[in-house]
Amino acid sequence: MSSGEFKGVWVFSENKDLAFELLGKGRELANKLGVELAGLLLGQGVANQAEEFISYGADKVYVADDPALKSFQPEPYKSVIADLASKYKPEILLIGGTRRGKELAPRIATVLETGCSSDCKVLDIDASKRLLLMDRLVYGGNAVSTLVCRSKPQIATVPPRTFDKPQAAKRKGEVVKVEVKAESPRTQILETKAKEVSGAKIEEASIVVLGGRGMKSKEDFKILDELAKILGGQVGVTRPLAADLEWFPEWVGLSGKTIKPMLFIGAGASGAIQLLAGMRDSRVIVAVNKDPEAPIFKAADYGIVGDLYEVVPALTAALKEIFKK
């Protein structure tokens, strides 16, 4: 197949906010290529959302509204998207990199015999070659790699909140109703249990106080809470404390949330490369750790070698004293 047949930028996410973020980036890419931007809307009773997709930048919305797509299952979603892509041949397909999106994208790429790049943080166009340039972290976060995909569609997954949600505007667009012939799901969902998530989103906090393995118990987080409170920040944790110990529902790092606050304070986190990958774009990084050799000091602007159980309360007290004046 000559790549000339493929045209247009498509975006899909089962998460609406993420779909809008992708429409924002997709619009920019489509403009650079001088092609159309289309959104894919899959589900049951979703047809009325098509106008919203247009308001966020889509020229066209493919609506697959069918009971078979009521809940996300990899097989029906994959088959519908792969069929549409085979028929209309987009050159770029951006998929929201939720865990569901990440199990979907490689299956679509396999069906379409093309390539896929996961967790892209930067997307751009090489205008001379009409190729999508995809930046992602590799080697456990040790390096940033720029990738291209030689076949079409070029598929990329994009983590939530990588790109800003665009401003909605009154725009005109075309809605295409799609006839759905979905594969049957091969798994059965028995139960869905929401995690307890506090209202505030850590990726939106301008100051983050993060606890690592050096924290001995969940109760001890009150010393971090106090520091976060006086700074107007939020508390976060590393993966072991969230996924293993379940003290918190989510974590910062390569496999979790990526944050870039104005100020990051890490307490008792050694600075494994997987953590650094999730916070190294913070404006200012402060580290408190007992081990002077801890790698986090190499990534920090300011560090204190010491016991966090002494240093953190002392820092809170010092700030209180300064702020009082």
Binding site: K102, E103, A105, L137, T187, L190, V284, D301, L315, A318
Partner: protein, 267 residues
């Protein structure tokens, strides 16, 4: 479903990313001679397969695609309790992307034969694409359950609790099925010296491209859609002011004053 429980675990002899050195002049990772190990989450997959075997019987096979050196990964898996090992290696496989890798692994799995369960880690520590598992499922037309933090095998079906970031989802599939596991599903056992010695004597089957009957144009750099233009360590320009050998109170006060003076925090 076949008579006895047979799990096949896909593993990678991955770059040890914690040990990876960066060339300060070029910012390029130094890959020549870099240490490798069984990818962390793949060990969880091996452990889970062995635990399933301990519960319901049957056997565990491990398969890896890599250089001849990747035999070490198989030996380690056997020391952890796997029964059979398969190394898929061929110079033409070098620089395969995720899709080419899943193509080769799927061919190897077909050649291994009947199975009930394929287990993979949620992602490998070096590439972290999380693509190979789902892509193998697509090629073998299997139901897939990703990000499992708990697995229960019962009769001819498998139930898993998945960690989907915002929620947990309990999902059931009829076997054969493919499951990717998270790091939290178990604590992989450390093989004893005895079991490592025993494992190193075990014969490992080695298959090349011709044994698998894979098409040359679908493997390696030639068969990979994804091409790497560059891979460089991000620039880290940090102040690196570290206070040590100071009483906590003094150090904290000095830091607090600096943060306020620099306008980083405000009262």
């Amino acid at each position: 479903m076949i008579g006895i429980m047979h799990s096949i675990v896909c593993i990678k002899y991955a770059l040890d990313v914690a040990e990876l050195k960066i060339d300060p002049a070029t910012r390029a990772p130094v890959l020549a001679g870099a240490t490798r190990k069984v990818s962390d989450i793949d060990k969880n997959a091996i452990e889970e397969a062995v635990r399933i075997k301990e519960k319901v019987g049957g056997k565990v096979s491990v398969v890896t695609m890599g250089s001849p050196e990747a035999k070490k990964a198989i030996t380690e898996a056997i020391a952890m309790g796997a029964d059979e090992g398969y190394l898929v290696t061929d110079p033409s496989f070098d620089q395969s992307d995720t899709m080419a890798t899943s193509y080769v692994l799927a061919a190897a799995i077909k050649k291994i034969g009947d199975f009930n369960l394929i287990l993979c880690g949620e992602a490998t520590i070096d590439g972290y694409t999380a693509q190979v598992g789902p892509s193998v499922a697509e090629r073998l037309n299997l139901p897939q359950i990703t990000y499992a933090r708990r697995i229960v095998v019962e009769g001819d079906s498998v139930t898993a609790e998945r960690d989907l970031t915002e929620n947990y989802e309990t999902t059931k599939a009829k076997m054969p099925a493919l499951i990717t596991v998270t790091k939290e599903i178990n604590e992989p056992r450390l093989p004893t010296l005895m079991s490592i010695m025993k494992a190193s004597k075990k014969e490992i089957k080695v298959w090349g491209a011709a044994d698998l009957g894979v098409a040359k144009e679908k493997v390696g750099a030639a068969g990979s859609s994804i091409q790497v233009l560059k891979a460089l360590a991000p620039e880290m320009k940090r102040k690196g002011v570290v206070l040590k050998d100071m009483p906590a109170k003094e150090a904290a006060m000095e830091l607090a004053k600096t943060l306020v003076k620099e306008g980083i925090v405000k009262g």
